[in-house]
Amino acid sequence: MTTKKAVSMNDSTATNDAPDWGALLARVAENDDKAAFRAIYQHFAPRIKAYAINQGFSQHAEVLVQEVMTSVWRNAGKYSESLASVSTWIFTITRNQRIDILRKLNRTRAEVVIETEELWQIPTEDTTICSIQNLSTEKFVKTAIDKLPEEQMIALRKVYYEGKTHEEVAEELNIPLGTVKGRLRLSLQKLRVMFEDKEI
């Protein structure tokens, strides 16, 4: 277990004594446990809302929070520690709901179109990968991103959390497009190397 604390992070809530979110989700699925769900909500809803605001959902930010948390409640029983950590699982739900809301807002007619869930599939079955690997990957990712230079992290955050295109990131940071692409590419290369070193 690592005791190193993130130095570059401006938020300090991601500590080692974080609750066992997986266990709380299980209580939600099995007993409709309101207290457990409240704990999950209190931690994740403000983050989902921040994500929504960053993505430009000013009026619909709370809608996204409600949609995601409804999905978390409904699908709590499908969560499996062997597939992802709870924050990764919630990230994928949030991403998909965001896309879904945008698609619905843009739709003019009630056409049959391919479902968001088909395009961004969230695994629900435990296949062959063992659970320890995924959970340690999670911790590993956290330490790995701490090793990235701040300028690369800023570019990654803007892509992941503000839904910015590379062009928009360049404009906002007032740097050439090539530099943005370079930073992203470098950060991905570093992460890939770190991931590959680690893979069993």
């Binding site: 401006n10 809803a45 709590a76 990764t88 919630i90 999670e138 590419r185």
Partner: protein, 223 residues
Amino acid sequence: MSGYHPDDMTLMNYAAGSCTIPESLAVAMHLCFCHDCRQHVKNLNHLGGALLETIKPASTDDDAFESLMASLEPHAQSEIAQVKMEPTPSEKITQHFTNPLLRYLPTSLADLPWQRQTKEISKYDLTSLINVKGFQVALQKINAGAKVPKHTHKGFEYTVILSGGFSDELGVYHEGDFIARDASHKHSPTALQNEDCICLTVLNAPLKFTGWYRVLNPFMAWS
């Protein structure tokens, strides 16, 4: 295992949910074939999860939790349904990633009502299923050994091979391969000899045929 993959940037945009629907279809289709890219997307999802933890939280409405609770159904009902839907062991094995088009195709690839483009090339259009302005999406079938007329791209083209294979000036491609081409390429794919080639093509601008074939431009497209 396929040999041509989406680049890191494309996979990241997919995992971040910042690519377009047609692009995500091409990536998702490749993921059906490629264990390595599935693994990488999983890592990129972990990155998303880790970033979600480091985001600066925003304040939520005071009564939001209680009003949400009031709208939620207890689990008992859906739980029973879930047990019934327990997949059989064979489904579990193939459930890594399912073909995203499966539910939308009327029949198997071989039996699709292909629309003939030339004697040797036919397509099954998916543009309306994807329904994103500026994109043409289709399944394309090239008879074994047939050649697609030389064309250039105005925007970009993603191709994922679903069966068979083809070659062009830059390489030989097989089932599962993900090929990205942009405006700088002028190519003429030729299906491999022994088998019809079926692929998914995603195109973000109309194609331009070069040479004599330009007369076909308004009527025929690679996608």
